[in-house]
């Protein structure tokens, strides 16, 4: 993996980005907690600039099994894609938790698509909206879409499969207390989006540095 140093993040930019994601996901986790009625445990976020291939490899290594993702595109001064990813085997468990755990299996299977999309929508929208507010920009967020497959399948959407295209890869793990549910949130952006994001992050750092 070799990344052009011109788009590499400085320590301050990486720090600011991790903090933005941390605030966004923490807020979103509080919404999920309301839906599920159990505490959501979060990891410290990780921020990396990697190629799309590398991002798929990282996901594949963490979870070699089939994955399910809720995917939403965001568009504005910065555009990219946000994914809420679970191992396929955990997705029914999540649906069961969200629907209250009283439903028979066939109903849960029937509801899976819809419940995943709604859960993803609440988490990803909550996270993206918080980040957009902190950056003082508005983002258009697409409707949720469910994708199933390997890490490569998830990151190989809409024809943007150039092997060397660079992705800003942010992820944060979450788990539900006392339930066998875990997953993570990833965000992908390409080169022009990353350059735009660097500018907004720079503005944010400058604002916070005023008279501090």
């Amino acid at each position: 993996m070799s990344v052009d140093p011109a788009i590499a993040l400085s320590d301050d930019e990486r720090d600011a980005l991790a903090e933005l994601v941390n605030i966004g996901v923490s807020r979103a986790a509080a919404s999920l907690r309301t839906m599920i009625g159990r505490e959501i445990l979060l990891s410290v976020p990780s921020v990396q600039v990697v190629t799309r291939l590398e991002a798929a490899r990282i996901i594949g290594e963490r979870d070699p099994e089939m994955l399910v993702a809720v995917h939403q595109a965001f568009d504005g001064e910065v555009c990219g894609r946000a994914l809420l990813i679970f191992p396929q085997t955990k997705s029914l468990e999540l649906v069961r938790a969200v629907t209250g755990g009283e439903l028979p299996l066939e109903d849960i299977i029937e509801l899976e698509q819809e419940a995943l999309a709604e859960t993803g929508n609440i988490i990803l929208n909550g996270c993206l909206a918080t980040i957009a507010n902190l950056l003082r920009r508005s983002l258009k967020i697409s409707l949720p879409e469910i994708i199933r497959g390997s890490g490569t399948d998830l990151f190989d959407l809409a024809g943007v499969s150039e092997e060397e295209s660079v992705a800003l890869f942010l992820y944060i793990d979450f788990a539900v207390r006392d339930r066998d549910i875990r997953g993570y949130i990833a965000m992908l952006m390409d080169l022009p989006a990353l350059a735009a994001l660097k500018r907004l992050i720079g503005d944010l750092i400058d604002r916070e540095a005023e008279s501090a």
Partner: protein, 127 residues
Amino acid sequence: MSYKVLIVDDSKLARMSVAKVLHGLHPDWTRVEAANADEAIARARAEKPDIVLLDVNMPGRDGLELAADLRALDAGMPMAVISANIQQEIVARSHEVGAAFLPKPLTEKALANFLLGAQARLKSTAT
């Protein structure tokens, strides 16, 4: 009366944000910063802060564990946990260790209210 405030957060940006709000309210107060729990304990021992503002989600020991350790060092020190993680478990655990809970991003109003209470407490223990 000028106080010394310890700000603990693994993110430099987050420390800057808190410092900025604090500076706006009390430009004459002294700030001490730490980026993790171990550093915070060392700084608390060396600098004897009057008030602590701390983050929850940090690598290593998290802010709630740190708050309990700091509480053991100083039973009466006003502390506030600052986090975007507004889940009731986090808020409840903050209160259990005797810390206030302030949502992140921190507003001037939220910090001002906490500091008013903190100052009152510090004055009453000083006399």
